[in-house]
Point group: C2
Chain length 130, copies 2
DNA sequence: CTGAATCCGTAATGATACTG
DNA sequence: CAGTATCATTACGGATTCAG
């Protein structure tokens, strides 16, 4: 029953927290998902990940590269061509994400309904009634 | 190979994104982990989740309650006593989190080393060198 | 094309003081 | 005890501009 010990300690810098800090942001998961099918160029990723700005895409890609989850290959051409590809480790991240995805899809309905009924009877979560 | 289709579309409000928005914040996972062993009072959670402020703890618990992942039981006493407990659905969240935790613990070393070597040869990710 | 650098508004978070 | 209210600070994200 003591399942807490599994994903454990309530410290800020435990592995799980660090990983969540990486994938918890708005773009990382989408970028990793886009790259799941194979290497892509910067502009190709940009057009597939709807709504991402250059800044955030570059930032996300850099962070993934830094963590060894994505490789960046530059082709010295004019115009320049840069390809990004998931590393073996990056691909392995697909498994936990798939599990999470499965949980999400099977529970989102219930969650949404819970929210509705909660909002119908209680106050908003983060605001005052003013 | 087309694993991307599993956790799928690059839209902002897909189930996975919504769930990540919930568990991606700094405290939710810690609170859920704390409650995994059984119901706790507000103050008991507060002292176990190191560093959480009253504001964030309340906010996190409200959000979890709103989503039907946690129940809030108030005992009309002086002084007041409030207990929080994971719902069945809340407990089921433990599985995907455990998978994520497993991935995190088995890869964090590699990631950390990748970061070191990256930082040693490249520029910082989010800053300028100035 | 692939970024880097900068500015700026908003949202998230934390510290603190106060209340039923 | 279990919150709420308020304020200060910071982090995040987007738009824009410039460059190799």
């Amino acid at each position: 029953m003591s399942q807490a010990a599994v994903w454990n300690p309530y410290v800020r810098d435990c592995p799980t927290r660090q990983v969540l800090d990486r994938i918890g942001d708005r773009w990382t998961v989408l970028v990793v998902g886009t790259l799941a099918d194979g290497p892509l160029r910067y502009s190709e990723i940009a057009e597939r990940v709807d709504g991402v700005s250059q800044k955030m895409l570059t930032q996300t890609l850099r962070a993934l590269e830094r963590d060894g989850l994505v490789t960046r290959t530059m082709f010295p051409q004019i115009p320049p061509r840069v390809e990004y590809e998931l590393t073996e480790e990056g691909r392995s991240l697909g498994e936990p994400l798939a599990v999470l995805e499965h949980w999400a899809t099977t529970h989102i309905e219930t969650i949404l309904r819970a929210r509705e009924s909660y909002d119908a009877t209680s106050r908003p979560v983060g605001q005052s009634t003013s």
